[in-house]
């Protein structure tokens, strides 16, 4: 076996081999790392449960119904005229996450929001709190009748899920 000349500043074939070997090892390591991270994301069966249809014909005005969508509660609130008026009247009030009531509903009498407090994920209690919307018992966030955050530590309004009215009495969430 011939020994390479002991040069330190010249690039040699050996340097090239070192870099090439190292690069292949790095690519190999990353390609193993990705499946290790990805396996923790939602699997196919979890993703498959992505939409649900609900009959809302039987919900009287003033009532909130909780349905389950993707493992989370969704509030379907049949709002009374007073609640709609209160929500629209506060459109210009100062709030942490300003939004008009109109931007949060498709039909004014139906408010559909994900029932998870945007603070740390508790389920707020309906028809409670200063604005008679929702009140989160965990850390005291107060939402109004449009599901907008008005007081407390939550950073965002209650999220509006993607939904569509299939008929007047049937809604598809997701």
């Amino acid at each position: 076996m011939s020994t390479a000349t002991p040069s330190t500043d010249e690039t040699s074939r050996r340097d090239f081999l070192y870099v090439a070997t190292g690069s292949v090892a790095a690519v190999g390591a990353v390609s193993v790392l990705w499946p290790l991270i990805s396996q923790m994301n939602p699997d196919a069966s979890t993703l498959a449960m992505a939409s649900s249809e609900i009959d809302i014909g039987a919900i009287p005005a003033g009532q909130i119904v909780t349905v389950k969508w993707r493992g989370k509660p969704v509030f379907i609130r049949h709002r009374t005229p007073e609640e709609i008026k209160a929500a629209q009247g506060d459109d210009n009030a100062s709030m942490p996450d300003p939004a008009t009531d109109k931007s949060r509903v498709q039909k004014p009498e139906w408010l559909i929001v994900i029932g998870v407090c945007t603070h740390l994920g508790c389920i707020p209690l309906g028809n409670q709190g200063e604005y008679n919307g929702w009140f989160c018992p965990c850390h005291g966030s107060v939402y109004d009748t449009s599901g907008r955050i008005r007081k407390g530590p939550a950073p965002r309004n209650l999220d509006v899920p993607p939904y569509a009215f299939l008929t007047d009495t049937k809604v598809k969430i997701g």
Binding site: P42, D43, R70, K72, L120, C138, P153
Partner: protein
């Protein structure tokens, strides 16, 4: 702190093993001949108590695993099955659940001990930081273990704690979805928490190994905070002195532990956790286990989500910087009057925060926890400036001097070398091993 032991095996089998794996001489120099400062008090027995608790948790935990089912629809009933049907199942579950509390009680005392006597100072910074890492691992393990029961408080505690990560800007929601393996806490979350709850105690075990290693490199701190100058005068061998003292400490601690297991096994738990997890109903008052309460109070004290989460983690992380925040050359609070007062104020603040964390998120607790959070961080903020104002008391020159001063005897001044060399004494049995 080694090289004091001359382990000379007489037994043939021991000699044979020594030549191949010197594990017995290692154990001998670490736990028999190891020189411990003469002046250690009972606060120094918590290292042994914690080692005992770690082993106890691993043994009871492995036993529980043999009967537990980590599946969302079966987990709660399998825990009830352990309580009602499995032979001695109630004993193992109560020992494990209360064991976690005892483990944290011991670790908090151990940490306050280090804080009081300045055990984090040069040259023990790495030892201290390893301790902070063990504490973090314990918190993760304790939290995930509590989730496995899959009661209401397990489920909603898991929801609140995992949602802390949603405060991370930009990727927050992706990270929480990744942690859950779904869109909420569910079966995939339970499964991975089970795997990690089984894994982490062994990681803790390994870091404890490093912690003890680091301890044996620098040697133990002691109540007077002066380094060992003369092993002969300042120290006693680990066995029998520390072994016996640790033994008594563990025994007394076991009495308290057993009192919880056999008389008030559910006192430290939450009644809501005997209701199976319901993803559609949040309990009116979510509280974590008592050992997380001070940090929970800090989280709730801040009205902004991201800042609250940052403050909570900072409250733990700041401990790792303690060796560089405290600039006083004197270690022990015994000789630092201002630091001593500040230390006790810090203890009161920490307990106060714990109390606020257990109370509902309403006035006056919100304001009180805000004030206490400021005081908590204030303690660490004051430390660098303390040496400017503090007049420390005279520190004894050696451990021997400190011990003798306590009994009213004046330490003899260092004797000049005797002119006539004394004939070398044959080593007596008790000193031979560690000299």
């Amino acid at each position: 702190m080694h090289g004091l032991s001359t382990f000379e095996p007489k037994n043939g089998a021991v000699k044979w093993l020594e030549a191949r794996l010197p594990i017995l001489s290692f154990a001998h120099s670490s736990f028999v001949a190891y020189p411990t400062p003469k002046n250690l008090n009972y606060w120094w027995t918590f290292g042994a108590i914690l080692s005992f608790m770690l082993i106890a948790q691993i043994i009871t935990g492995v036993v529980l695993t043999m009967h537990y089912t980590p599946e969302a629809t079966l987990a709660f009933s399998s825990v009830e099955k352990i309580m009602r049907d499995v032979n001695w199942g109630w004993l193992f579950r109560y020992a494990h659940a209360n064991g976690a509390s005892m483990f944290f009680l011991a670790v908090y005392i151990h940490m306050f001990r280090g804080l009081y006597y300045g055990s984090y100072k040069n040259p023990r910074e790495v030892l201290w930081i390893l301790g902070v890492i063990i504490f973090l691992l314990m918190m993760a393990t304790g939290f995930m273990g509590y989730v496995l029961v899959w009661g209401q408080m397990s489920f909603w505690g898991a929801t609140v704690i995992t949602n802390l990560f949603s405060a991370i800007p930009i990727f927050g929601n992706e990270i929480t979805t990744w942690l859950w393996g779904g869109f909420s806490v569910d079966n995939p979350t339970l499964n991975r928490f089970f795997a990690l709850h089984y894994l982490l105690p062994f990681v803790i075990f390994a870091v404890v190994g490093l912690h003890v290693w680091a301890l044996h490199v620098t040697g133990q701190n002691n109540p007077d905070g002066v380094e060992i100058k003369d092993v002969e005068k300042d120290c006693v061998p680990f066995t029998p002195h520390a072994t016996m003292k640790d033994g008594l400490g563990v025994t007394v601690f076991l009495l308290v532990y057993c009192w919880f297991i056999f008389y008030v096994p559910n006192y430290l738990g939450d009644a809501d956790n005997y209701i199976p997890a319901n993803p559609l109903k949040t309990p009116p008052h979510i509280v974590p286990e008592w050992y997380f309460l001070p940090y929970y109070a800090i989280l709730r004290a801040i009205p902004d989500k991201l800042m609250g989460v940052i403050a909570m983690f900072a409250a733990i992380a700041v401990l790792a910087f303690l060796p560089w925040l405290d600039k006083s050359p004197v270690r022990s609070a015994k000789y630092r009057p201002m630091y001593k007062a500040l230390f006790w104020a810090f203890v009161v603040v920490s307990i106060g925060l714990g109390y606020c964390g257990a109370m509902p998120a309403a006035e006056p607790y919100v304001t009180v926890s805000r004030v206490l959070s400021v005081l908590y961080f204030g303690f660490f903020a004051l430390l660098p400036f303390l040496p400017r104002w503090e007049k420390t008391l005279p520190v004894p020159a050696t451990i021997a001097e400190a011990v003798l001063a306590k009994s009213g005897v004046k330490a003899e001044p260092p004797k000049p070398e005797p002119v006539k060399a004394a004939p070398a004494k044959a080593p007596t049995k008790s000193t031979r091993l560690w000299k």
